[in-house]
Amino acid sequence: MTRAGSGGLVVEAEVTRGSFTLAVSLAANAGEVLGLLGPNGAGKSTLLSAVAGLTPVSAGRITLDGQVMDDADAGTFVEASGRPVGFVFQNYRLFPHLTVADNVAFSPRARGLSRRAARSAASHWLDRLGLTDLADRKPGQLSGGQAQRVALARALAGQPAVLLLDEPLSALDAGTRLDVQAELRRHLADFTGPCLLVTHDAIEALVLADRLVVLEGGRIVQEGTPEQIARQPATDYVAKLVGLNLYAGQADGSRVALTGGGNFVITDHGQHGDVLVALRPSAVVVSTEPPQPGSARNTWPAKITGLTLLADRVRLNLEGQPSALVDVTPAAVAELSLSPGSQVWLTTKATELEVYSGSDGRSAEPHDAAAP
């Protein structure tokens, strides 16, 4: 399958590292932020590494704006230093022996500018990212948020055609993360080339990315806008990430027989065959007595196996047909005296169930998640 158009970044390649193989086909257009979402070991960083030229592909090719960067069949390979790539590494990798200004001037200098020209290019980017006051500091004297900005300035100062960000916010504490995230969003909007953003944080992906690719075990399992993926996750991993219950089952008009046991009554859109059902944890009602017949069409017994206090609510882990995650208020936990082992009834309306076949035609069956 070949992607149309020669602009932007096109990766149709396999990368083998030991027993792990990453096999992907994706394209990122100019100005687009493509989020790469996936669990540890899914191959996200390997993909960035291949685009940057730090790891050669073992099959297939990578092109950037129509120019071949790596082609295993033709034997073409552009060294990392020759690729117009800006890479923001997970722990930033700021050169500890150079000042902030020299870190940012590194790429212009390495790409052939004179010392003076490199310095003035650096000062432009320092100014743009509000780092001028920190120009003479060493990386060891920076806060996490500042280091992140320096890393971004350093990557952008080389005037790259593609920007690669490997979990740019993961090294930050929760407090500064939101500020830096908002700032990063602005800077990414200014960047005119394609941008690949690796993350395993759902919020980060939803806020920063225009489009998401979900990688698991070296394969793309889902692709789409953040909204699509948040509403209709294709795998358990994504469902957990966005905080949804996800069930696979067989639809037959207004009824879904779940693969793991149990049934749901759904609104009938004439769906048949393999489907996925997504259910928000807040869309389930918990009661300690069998509920009176009402408008809710789905009622089933379950046992509480765990309670977790989230910011403003309590998430219940429930075992039943089917099992579910359910969010309730702390007050409800107290009133109903819910505790592990409690037997309860769960109720949800058919209209709360999002029923869909695996999005963009990819299968939703379980796959091996093993990867180094």
Partner: protein
Amino acid sequence: MVTRTAPSHLTARERARRAARGGASQSVPAPLLAPALIAVAFLVLPLVGLLVRAPWRHIGAALSGSDATQALVLSLWTATTTTAISLVIGVPLAWLLARTRFPGQRLLRALVTLPLVLPPVVGGVALLLAFGRTGLIGRYLNSWFGLTIPFTPLAVVMAETFVAMPFLIITVEGALRSADQGFEEAAATLGAKRMAVFRRITVPMIAPSLGAGAVLCWARALGEFGATITFAGSFPGQTETMPIAVYYALESDPDAAIALSLVLLLVSVVVLVSLRDRWLRGGSVP
């Protein structure tokens, strides 16, 4: 049935110490303590002897009365030249050993480290056989260029380099192996070619090890005796370095020998102090 020890007295000071160190009993068993003390005495007493017997009153005369100044100057410049040469050719070799893969690499590493364990006098003989007037290479140097290496200051430098450079190489190679290559990758993505990465990232990052390796190499060169006397001889002012001067002075002028030894001891102490962060902290390997 478990045997129980009767409670013993624990002073408040010992309690505080154990609490701070988090350890159990700190008492040392006698079978370990006695040999350890013997070892200390063995290492320290000779130095004490040197200090006690030193001709403190007329040390200046003892030093100037012999060829001491000449020997000291020769030793200092040959050791420094050796270190410079080792940096220029040894660091690239360390990089090759640490960062590349090629056939015969293990053998090469073994050969490079061989002078560390080889008796220096054997090194001197080997140098003589290679670079001597009739040696493997020396015969051509002699017949084509009229160049004779043995028994010249150049021979001193070569002997010292043969013995001392491996110290620099293994120190730098170790540093290159343990250095975080992520920084070099980052530099590559920023457009730096391999040589630029080496110059602007690798070298500055291993600078402390480079310094330590250079000091170690210099100290070893300064103390070199066996290879030097074999390959370069002992002509005062030409090839007679400090250790060789000490050795000969011991027969003719013991006071001068002691005074010269004190100078070398002083230099060694300075070297040790300069390396204290790396070696005297305990547990860390250079």
